[in-house]
């Protein structure tokens, strides 16, 4: 049964190749190929997962060697797939959400002129993401890492006729490239020091050769952290994600919320042994996570564009995962990844329905009273908002509770815990603000609902499926202190052995209660901002200080402004100075010399016989003279 493992990434890849090589085809055929490949892949992943639970492979790890990539002296990276508890969870989440989002896209993208191209890119993305999480070798992982980056670029700029979309795609690609370069350097460092890129090998060698806190371990951890930070849109490289919302909404749901942006979380969890060798980097992860969580949360609460709210919320939630990774709660981060994948893709898909119903309108302040016109979407959105804010009975409550417990344990009463609680409050605030602005009956209810584009039956079905999954994801992660089994962290323990919680059940229950109250307070203030106190906040944001603060937060704390001055302008200025390419003049000198010599010599070629003969005679005389004199 495990032997079919290679088919899981290969099927979406073949779907992509078929769509790419197929000439003109109907929408129906393109969707069937794309969805068929991913759905089959999801079915295989489920089958493999069932097998894994019933009859786990020896040691909890199954490896499948596909082929040897290249052989240079003793460097022979093989393309090996590795299935363990962590990669199993990842492939299940990736394939299931991808399949659901593709079903949704069939309805959402209907009538788009590049229908086939969209599905081809989506399949390529799924294949790359699966390769990334199944790779045993860091080099193969890097292939997947770059693959998802390319697909992200292609899909952000999917509607390329609008120049702004192209710019957003370039921004995402260039910013993540900073991290990719760091990763390449990190891989070279690891290979030159440890002589291997095979993940289990390199981790065991790192433990054997590098004492905790030694320079190479810290440097390698910093470089890998930089790549994870860029991919997962964390401070200070988070600027690309809000702009990435230029892509179609299913893309935002799959790539920029559920899967790709969590690749950094996966990378750190996968290499957690290495990060444990560098305690200061580990601490930095926690700090980055906490700061990102707060800054993005504040930005999300000030956005007008409904998609940007969700984008900042994604940054903030991935910040939660980084915080968990930073305090060594690896499995808590993965649990939050699982629940986040479901509820955040659900939120994005709901937003997609809303935007289509509003005929492309993104502004929250022009939406109201959508509850009656889009009942299924409203229901799904409420579930997703509950999960996002960490309210029971959803998966978001369970996973967030686990993270908060781990953060509290790492430093009771410390400011990390305070930051995490503030993050929970902000999450509730911006989520419910968005929910009430979009669905609340603030003014008179809509009359012109006849011409609204409603979600198709399949789109609604996907929303219901994801809503069910968002709630159901609570079961495997439900904390033991509240009568659950915490099955998922137990399952991940073979790969991510974070220590069992040392908190007493009573303390855990108290912590859960505190988190719940904070989340409820956040939700209530979200309602207040959107509904009851709206006039007051409008007055507040129109005062000088209020407006400045609001603008500052709305533009994501001015990071774009800062980077434009720090990096873009100097680069452009240098390019202006170097318009004629100073270095190139050196190379140009060679050409110039050759040309001048050519002109000089070609003047001697007169075509006159006498001149030639004279030159020959003169040459002879010179040679003779030289011979006689020397």
């Amino acid at each position: 049964m495990y032997a079919i493992l290679w088919l899981i990434p290969a099927l979406p890849l073949s779907g992509f190749l078929m769509l790419a090589l197929l000439g003109r085809s109907s929408e129906r055929l393109a969707a069937a190929i794309s969805l068929g490949a991913v759905a089959l892949s999801a079915a295989l992943a489920l089958a493999v997962g069932g097998q894994f639970l019933l009859a786990p492979p020896p040691g909890g790890v199954y490896t499948q060697t596909l082929w040897c990539w290249m052989r240079v002296a003793d460097f022979a990276p093989a393309v090996v797939l590795q299935l363990d508890a962590l990669s199993l969870v990842m492939i299940l989440v990736v394939t299931v959400t991808a399949a659901l989002i593709l079903v949704y896209s069939i309805g959402y993208m209907k009538g788009d002129e590049s229908y086939k191209r969209f599905f081809a890119y989506m399949d390529l993305f799924v294949a790359s993401m699966l390769l990334l999480v199944l790779a045993r070798d860091l080099l193969v992982l890097y292939v997947g890492w770059e693959g998802v980056g390319v697909c992200s670029y292609l899909l952000i700029g999917f509607w390329y006729r609008d120049a702004a979309n192209g710019r957003a795609a370039q921004k995402a690609f260039i910013v993540t490239r900073v991290g990719d370069a760091a990763m390449a350097v990190g891989l070279l460092l690891i290979f030159s020091k440890l002589g291997t890129l095979d993940i289990p090998d390199l981790l065991s060698r790192a433990v054997a050769q590098w004492p905790s806190g030694s320079a190479p371990a810290v440097l390698a951890a910093w470089l890998l952290l930089a790549s994870a930070v860029a991919k997962s849109a964390q401070l200070p490289l988070q600027v690309w994600l809000p702009d990435a919302m230029a892509g179609p909404t299913p893309v935002s749901a799959l790539i920029h919320a559920a899967t790709m942006v969590t690749a950094g979380v996966y990378l750190i969890a996968r290499l957690h042994v290495l990060f444990a060798l560098a305690p200061e980097v580990q601490a930095a992860i926690a700090v980055i996570g906490a700061v990102t969580l707060l800054l993005a949360g504040v930005s999300a609460a000030t956005q007008q564009d409904i998609k940007r709210v969700a984008a900042y919320s994604t940054i903030s939630q991935v910040g939660f995962m980084f915080l968990a990774l930073g305090v060594g709660a690896w499995s808590a981060a993965i649990c939050h990844f699982v629940t986040h994948a479901f509820f955040k893709s659900l939120l994005f898909l709901c937003i997609g329905v809303i935007i289509q119903a509003m005929d492309g309108e993104h502004s929250l302040f022009k939406m109201h009273g959508l509850r009656r016109t889009l009942p299924v979407t409203f229901f799904a959105c409420v579930i997703s908002a509950l999960a996002l804010s960490g309210l029971p009975p959803t998966g978001g409550f369970a996973s967030k509770d686990r993270i908060l417990g781990a953060v509290y344990e790492a430093g009771p009463g410390g400011w990390l815990y305070a930051a995490a609680l503030a993050g929970v409050f902000l999450t509730g605030l911006y989520t419910f603000r968005m929910l009430f602005l979009a669905f609340g009956d603030m003014r008179e209810s809509r009359k012109d609902t006849g011409g609204m584009r409603r979600p198709t039956a399949s789109m609604s079905a996907v929303l219901v499926c994801l809503a069910v999954l968002s709630v159901a994801a609570a079961a495997p992660a439900w904390p033991a202190a509240l009568g659950g089994h915490a099955w998922l962290p137990q399952f991940l323990r073979t790969v991510l052995p974070d220590g069992a919680s040392t908190l007493r059940a009573g303390t855990e229950r108290t912590l859960s209660l505190i988190a719940l109250q904070v989340a409820l307070a956040g939700a209530a203030s979200g309602w207040f901002v959107a509904m009851a106190g709206r006039r007051m906040f409008e007055r507040l944001t129109s005062s000088t200080v209020g407006a400045a603060l609001h603008a500052w937060w709305q533009t994501g704390w001015g990071f774009d402004w800062f980077y434009t001055r720090l990096i873009v302008w100097p680069t452009v200025w240098m390019a202006e100075i170097n318009r004629n390419d100073v270095i190139d003049t050196l190379t140009g000198l060679c050409t110039w010399t050759a040309l001048a010599g050519h002109r000089l010599l070609s003047r001697t070629q007169t075509g006159r016989l006498g001149w030639y003969a004279g030159c020959m005679a003169a040459g002879l005389v010179i040679i003779l003279a030289l011979m006689l004199w020397t």
């Binding site: 070609s602 070629q605 007169t606 075509g607 006159r608 016989l609 006498g610 003969a613 004279g614 005679a617």
Partner: protein
């Protein structure tokens, strides 16, 4: 042989070479250029004879016969070229062939 001073032989050879060279450089008619080259050949041959006589060596005369053979071959090729030249340009003026330009 003893009656003729060696310097006279050298001078004659040098004079013949100069005449030939000047003719080859100055004349425009290909036929005369060829003739001038023959004169230069003979100047070289004469230099060998004189040298052979000076050191009483037969090598000088051997070289003379060599040069005769070479100049015969050269004349054959040269005349053939001249025929082609006349065929192409309708004249024997070397300026007509000044077609190699940058």
């Amino acid at each position: 042989m003893n009656g003729i001073p060696m310097a006279a032989g050298w001078l004659l050879a040098a004079g013949l070479l100069t005449v030939g060279l000047v003719g080859a450089l100055a004349r425009r008619n290909l036929l005369f250029v060829l003739l001038s080259i023959e004169i230069m050949f003979n100047a070289a041959a004469l230099a060998f004879i004189v040298a052979g006589a000076r050191w009483n060596q037969p090598d000088g005369q051997v070289m003379f016969i060599f040069i005769l053979a070479i100049s015969a071959a050269e004349v054959a090729v040269g005349l053939a070229l001249m025929l082609r030249f006349h065929h192409c340009f309708g004249t024997l003026d070397t300026r007509a062939a000044a077609k190699l330009k940058d």
